[in-house]
Symmetry: C2
Subunit: 323 residues, 2 copies
């Protein structure tokens, strides 16, 4: 990149979606106004070249799109509406052309536009090595409607908004150099904002998490935050189409611990389950009952026929294999 | 780092300062509430090892502290109150001990505590190379009080809240391996939140910028955003104590283009200047008149005795020397 100022100019949005925005990019900081009827939501996530993606597993467009998607998914998991995003990009001294960097921003914008979000700030710096992209998302939710992990109660139904394991299967195929029909799960995940909104507006007590680290790990988080035990029923967990071509071990490993599916997993009272199911049906969105909550000490179990076995909190621990 | 979860546990704040905070670290995203009487402010900045700091020019504590300070300075430059911050840390596979990483968070917390800010979120990922720290700050300001760069008008006084050039002098000394009395300007800058608040509450029309890139570059930004010309008077610009030991060329280069001083530079109507000066005096804070605004096409000039010369928009362009 020859000129930082010209580059920033080229990626500065030409228009904005949100009435809440007062002043976007162009001053020391962005200014906006949410209003008294909503609480606010903020989260941040970083993707690093060589760790979260490689140039041969994702295009620059997909990298930008996903860096925003994983944050929007966190807002969805609170039942919120994503509004704004800020982007910090660390650009290696070599190996990335201005055209590729613009593609990253095109990917960010594609997902931002899909949810009518405005990019309101950022930072572009150079680095000696790998590309880093760090995104912060700000959102809102009607007061008191937030869907916390700590909301699960004994007797609740555990639900999931879509099949899991696809992202891990896609990544596995990308890393071995071939392609299967699952790679788009990994490269272009879709945050479940609409589903989160249906749940937030249902007026039911709901616990919720997005599936970034695999449903075993996400269930553990709900279990621990709520002080309950969770049982997942193996036969009820939806798999992507064609998954039975894989060994049952491989399939379950991807489904339970693969992560990066960005579906929503949560719990709702048994008495409200039919209601929730109907709300999803009306909106033509899918939701699956996959287990139940028990009044036992925190832990996650998998039931299969009349057996039950304990699930570890595996998921993706960024540092587990490092030292 | 052996275990990301244990590390995150160790840096999660044990208490919070802000009534606005509903739910901090521990769910998919943070939740807070600002209220109807304020607008909100958001900004983000990244510091990269080898580019913005080196292990031998700054301690881990200072790196964390400064990563937050530069963002708080942006909020100060809007006249706002910093409230919350989110931290994304990319940790190299080797070279940084858990103790050093905790020191980074201790530095963040030291500055955060100084301004009663809460850390409400973050992400900790690994990287194959240099450490990256990316901070987002969220703040607030009373509705309509924001101090934009575009507020300067012909006839305004140009002011500065303190001496500039110290940070560049300190860095220069650090890079050549010795120490002078200026290194703390570089290592431990102090964002001018109090000064920004005095200006915001003054009820005057004020344009404002923080000195991150040097006063020449910051003046250019105000000049361009406001469509006016700015004249800086060489003899009025405050230098750090002892600066006359350096050649006048070196001194001026540091003062005009050094950057990272994080003082505030801005303009106010001549008729309001005495008022502003008195407000600062009352609060025992310094403010210096260093120039004036002219009704000419955008540009920045330096006046010295009866000469005037044009100042380039130099400052620090992260990519200028790279390709």
């Amino acid at each position: 990149m020859k000129d930082e100022f010209a580059f920033i100019q080229s990626i500065t949005p030409a228009y904005s979606f949100r009435d809440e925005l007062i002043n976007g990019i162009g001053d020391d900081a962005a200014l906006y106004r949410i209003g008294a009827e909503c609480d606010e939501i903020a989260c941040t996530d970083t993707m690093v070249e060589g760790i979260h993606f490689k140039k041969d597993t994702m295009t620059p467009f997909q990298i930008g799109r996903k860096a925003l998607a994983v944050n929007v998914s966190d807002v969805a998991a609170m039942g919120g509406i994503p509004l704004f995003y800020l982007v910090s990009l660390s650009v290696p001294n070599s190996g990335w052309s201005t055209r590729q960097l613009k593609e990253i921003y095109r990917g960010l914008k594609a997902l931002g536009d899909e949810f009518q979000m405005d990019m309101i700030g950022g930072d572009t710096v150079s680095t000696r090595s790998d590309l880093h992209i760090s995104v912060t998302v700000i959102g809102k939710i009607e007061k008191g409607r937030r869907l916390l992990r700590s909301n699960a109660r004994p007797g609740d139904v555990v639900f999931l908004t879509g099949p899991v394991g696809g992202s891990a299967a896609g990544l596995s195929s990308l890393l071995s150099g071939d392609t299967n029909s699952y790679i788009s799960y990994h490269q272009e995940p879709n945050p479940r904002v609409k589903q989160g909104r249906i749940l937030a507006k249902s007026d039911c007590r709901i616990s919720l998490n997005d599936v970034s680290d695999g449903i075993a790990s996400e269930s553990h988080e709900i279990s621990e935050a709520s002080g309950v035990s969770i049982v997942l029923e193996q036969d009820l967990i939806p798999a992507p189409e064609g998954f039975d071509a894989y060994s049952s071990f491989q399939r379950l490993e991807w489904m339970l611990n693969g992560g990066e599916d960005y579906e929503l997993i949560g719990t709702v009272a048994e008495a409200d389950w039919k209601n929730v199911e109907n709300l999803f049906l009306k909106q033509k969105e899918s939701i699956y009952r996959i287990g139940y909550v028990e009044d036992k000490k925190p832990g996650v179990w998998m039931s299969y026929k009349d057996q039950k076995f304990k699930l570890d909190k595996k998921g993706y621990n960024h540092f587990s294999s490092k030292e």
